[in-house]
């Protein structure tokens, strides 16, 4: 792996928005190390081919750095037929292939373009990579006039280019917001990736989590007994911090609510603090809930492979709710998990809901979540906001006074759901110092962490840090202006990817989940006096640092 060692200033100086002199179709692609993520391991692909027939193919040892990608001999036919099938299945794809006027309004909206200056990272051109083949294969003018209409023949180099650039798109949909016709590059990227999968072109950082999630219930491959160990470990930590033993029922039948969160929250800093936060919150209100080791994942990496795979992974949520007899599902802080829940879940799997499932009602406040009456699934930020509004939480905001917070809207809850005010309401109720980043970088205009859609892997760190420039720069702005030292977010991928991003672009800013901050402020019945936060850092030292 190429070690990434550019300093921030060097990276900034290397950005040039002037396109090369050569026409984009004849500009060769750079397959140097560090420009691509490692391909999927053959055994993972074999497993998935067995579990989800027709979606994956061609398991083998290969490397994108090699000249020979060991494609199936009929790969052109596979891509052509797959393309045709999807043009007929999705109006979105067909319309998006036809109506782009190349006005360029999207060009400077993509974080990868902003950070790299590579013209193929302009959403319009990223889609043209696919559109050019569409013109050649599926339009009369393209067939006759060819290159004059921007059409080109599908060759191996084109397929390789797809791999390079459709894995430099985090499906964040920021370009779609600015497009006069709503062309959504995420949709184009999803289709391109489906076609690549049919030829056995994929990345391990997606394939392994998908395979794991199918078998063990979560991306990380945590087996049930290990899951329980981790949870017990966190319960110990909560006891150390609060002097109180809270509960986390696992796989238990007969509870009202099943709580599902991304497994990143179980596994790594700072997600685990958010996870502890959920458990403390549930203890404080006496929620009748269980978690499941079988459905121990909310995030759905299937979304990054194919619609079928997404459906299969998502279906576990209802299956487990039924088995355990839960009435509704409470969902943790996660980005693309909520995209799947909000836009796809009921359409794909609604028929799997058992008769016991009900429109979610907050058992503590009696609030009916009518906006979730079909999916039966409530976001924890909505749930906590409701608790706060009804005064059901005993909060001591001053415990978070060492924090000067800003909020990062995660792309999916922001642009594929529209959950903007709920987390802010919660945050402002648990923290006295809150500052917004500049307005063109927040809410629906939020910038991606550059690690979404399965790209949060270290071998492409330069690409991630370049893509992280817009978010990092906005963060640095509030860091300098308001002394912001914490960026809160409601996405597990963010909690993982924003850390190197902040270390690089705005060193000194820490990343926190929303419910970590809630739990810091939350006073539990019968707790002992808190001297430390959820990270077991002494308040005394933290406040002393802040005063300096």
């Amino acid at each position: 792996m190429a070690k990434f060692s550019k300093k921030p200033i060097e990276l900034l100086q290397s950005i040039d928005y002037t396109p090369p002199r050569t026409d984009w179709m004849s500009t060769p692609n750079n397959f140097a190390d560090g420009r691509w993520a490692y391909p999927g391991k053959p055994e993972k692909i074999e497993y998935l081919m067995h579990e989800m027939p027709g979606n994956f193919a061609n398991p083998r040892e290969w490397s994108p750095g090699d000249v020979d990608w060991k494609l199936p001999s009929n790969w052109k036919e596979i891509v052509h037929e797959g393309f045709k099938e999807r043009l007929n299945k999705y109006r979105s794809l067909k319309v998006f292939m036809d109506v782009c006027v190349r006005c360029g309004a999207c060009a400077d909206k993509c974080h990868f373009f902003i950070g790299s200056g590579d013209p193929k990272n302009m959403p319009v051109l990223r889609a043209e990579l696919m559109r050019s083949v569409y013109r050649k294969d599926f339009t009369l003018a393209g067939k006759i006039l060819g290159k004059l209409t921007g059409a080109r023949v599908m060759e191996e180099d084109v397929l390789k280019e797809w791999f390079l650039y459709f894995y430099q798109c985090t499906e964040c949909r920021r370009c779609s917001l600015f497009c006069p016709y709503g062309i959504d590059t995420a949709e184009v990227t999803m289709m391109a990736r489906e076609l690549l999968h049919l030829c056995g072109i994929n990345i391990n950082w997606i394939m392994e989590p998908v395979a794991n999630c199918n078998r063990t219930g979560n991306h990380l491959g945590i087996q049930p007994h290990a899951f329980k160990d981790i949870v017990d470990f966190m319960l110990d930590d909560i006891e150390t911090i609060t002097g109180k033993r809270v509960k986390c029922p696992l796989n238990e039948k007969g509870h009202e609510v099943i709580f599902i969160t991304p497994s990143g929250d179980v596994f790594a800093d700072p997600g685990i603090y958010t996870f502890m936060g959920y458990l403390m919150l549930f203890d404080a209100i006496g929620l009748d809930f269980t978690m499941s080791t079988y459905a121990s994942e909310g995030g759905n990496f299937g979304l990054f492979t194919s619609a079928d795979m997404m459906k299969k992974l998502n279906a576990k949520m209802y299956a487990e709710a039924n088995r355990l007899g839960a009435k509704w599902i409470l969902g943790g802080e996660c980005g693309h998990m909520w995209r799947v829940i909000n836009q796809y879940m009921d359409t794909m799997n609604g028929y799997l809901q058992g008769p016991q499932m009900r429109t979610p009602v907050n058992p503590i406040t009696g609030t009916v979540f009518n906006n979730a009456k079909q999916t039966k699934m409530v976001h924890i930020a909505e749930f906590t906001a409701d608790l706060i509004k009804h005064g059901k939480l005993n909060l001591d905001k001053t415990r978070n006074d060492y924090i000067r917070a800003t909020f990062h809207d995660s792309c999916n809850p922001a642009r594929a759901m529209g959950m903007l005010d709920e987390p802010r309401y919660v945050l402002k109720n648990v923290c006295n110092h809150f500052y917004e980043m500049p307005e063109n970088t927040i809410r629906e205009q939020t910038f991606c962490c550059a690690g979404g859609s399965g790209l949060n892997t270290d071998e492409i760190m330069e690409i991630r840090l370049r893509g992280g420039l817009p978010r990092g720069n906005a963060l640095r702005y509030v860091q300098e202006k308001h002394g912001v030292n914490t960026m809160a977010c409601v996405c597990a991928i963010d909690r993982a990817t924003l850390i190197p991003l902040a270390d690089y672009w705005a060193p000194g800013v820490r990343i926190s989940g929303l419910h970590e901050m809630v739990a810091n402020a939350l006073i539990l019945d019968g707790e002992s006096e808190r001297t430390m936060n959820l990270r077991q850092e002494e308040f005394e030292e933290l406040f002393a640092q802040e005063e300096e």
């Binding site: 109506v99 600015f178 062309i183 879940m345 906006n371 809410r443």
Partner: protein, 344 residues
């Protein structure tokens, strides 16, 4: 290069009727045959294209949400109804704003990278929106004004439009504002394509050609009206006779009219097969024309494969029964020998 090809091509298109009518005297061919064929191609092509889109399913609701969702508690959070609609009427408003006001384009920002001060800045950039509005509205008004050529008695709204368009009362014949603004709009769109390196890089012949064609149409129209001062009554006679399937072209119509008409014919025939179909496409864009209500309402995916089931819990427990038992996790089925063990 792409711009040059397009320019040369449009020039060639201008020459065709000049030679065809001026030298070869093919008045009926250029005055009636070509325009009526082009009109047929336009209508049939447009309908086919829109039908082709409309018959394809929209399996999932994928609106781009540009604001606060419909909250569970409207007293606590205010929904952004026009950018994140959850009902039909709200979605209709969103589309209306999109189609009539180019709302998404209005949001446009431009990027500035200030390396020295380590700042990435975004400034509002409404130029594209403004000139796109100039062009599209002028085009619309001009097309509407032309309706008087097709109709025996001119309806009041078109009279008003024409009156409003010429209200500045400059020159004889009175100058139409739309004639000026369409040129301003087109020249800006063209200039932007040439001047902005990024946009030039992505511009194809398909992008320059319609701009030059529209410029040709506008300029020939302006020439006819203000300089050649063509015989409008004769033209109306031609149009009306053609509509009655009498293939007769009155004498004395200036050649510039045939150039204008030929270019319009090319535009009509080209339209359904080009990016100009964004006119129809904008209405069918699934990220804009759907309400964000999938958590509240069921929607059917016509090709949803119900055969796809999750990896079952039974399989999962079979895989991990022993360690689950040892960890004290509840089980559907105890491992072999566990009951005896418990009894002993």
């Amino acid at each position: 290069m792409n711009a040059l090809y397009s320019l040369v091509f449009v020039f060639a298109l201008v020459l065709i009727p000049l030679i065809g009518v001026g030298a070869a005297k093919l008045n009926v061919f250029f005055g009636i045959c070509i325009p009526s064929t082009a009109l047929l191609v336009f209508v049939a092509g447009f309908v086919c294209k829109v039908y082709g889109w409309a018959r394809r399913p929209v399996p999932f609701r994928i609106p781009t949400t540009g604001g606060q969702q419909e909250p569970y508690d409207p007293t606590l959070f205010k929904q952004n109804k026009w950018d994140n609609p959850s009902t039909g009427p709200q979605t209709f408003m969103r589309m209306l704003l999109e189609v009539l006001c180019f709302r998404s384009l209005f949001r446009n920002t431009s990027l500035k990278l200030d390396v020295k001060n380590n700042v990435v800045a975004y400034a509002s950039a409404k130029w594209l929106w403004l000139f796109a509005i100039f062009f599209h509205y002028s085009f619309f008004i001009i097309v509407a004004r032309h309706m008087r050529l097709f109709l025996a008695s001119v309806p009041m709204p078109i009279e008003w439009l024409e009156f409003g368009d010429g209200i500045m009362q400059i020159g004889v014949p009175r100058m139409y504002m739309s004639d000026v603004l369409i040129l301003v709009g087109l020249l800006f769109l063209l200039g932007r394509r040439l001047a902005d390196a990024k946009i030039r890089y992505i511009s194809l012949v398909n992008d320059f050609f319609p701009l030059f064609l529209l410029l040709g149409i506008s300029l020939s129209g302006i020439y006819m009206r203000y300089f050649a001062k063509v015989d409008v009554m004769a033209i109306k006679e031609l149009v009306v006779s053609a509509l009655q399937f009498q293939f007769k072209v009155p004498a004395g119509i200036d050649n510039s009219f045939f150039v204008h008409l030929f270019l319009v014919s090319v535009l009509l025939a080209y339209f359904p097969f080009s990016k100009l179909m964004h006119l129809g496409g904008v209405f069918l864009s699934p990220t804009r024309n759907l309400p964000n209500d999938t958590r509240m309402k069921h929607h059917e995916n016509p090709w949803n494969d119900k055969g796809i089931m999750p990896h079952s819990y039974e399989h999962y427990e079979d895989d991990f029964r022993e360690p689950m038992y040892e960890a004290g996790l509840p089980l559907e089925k105890l491992p072999e020998g566990a009951e005896e063990e418990a009894k002993a």
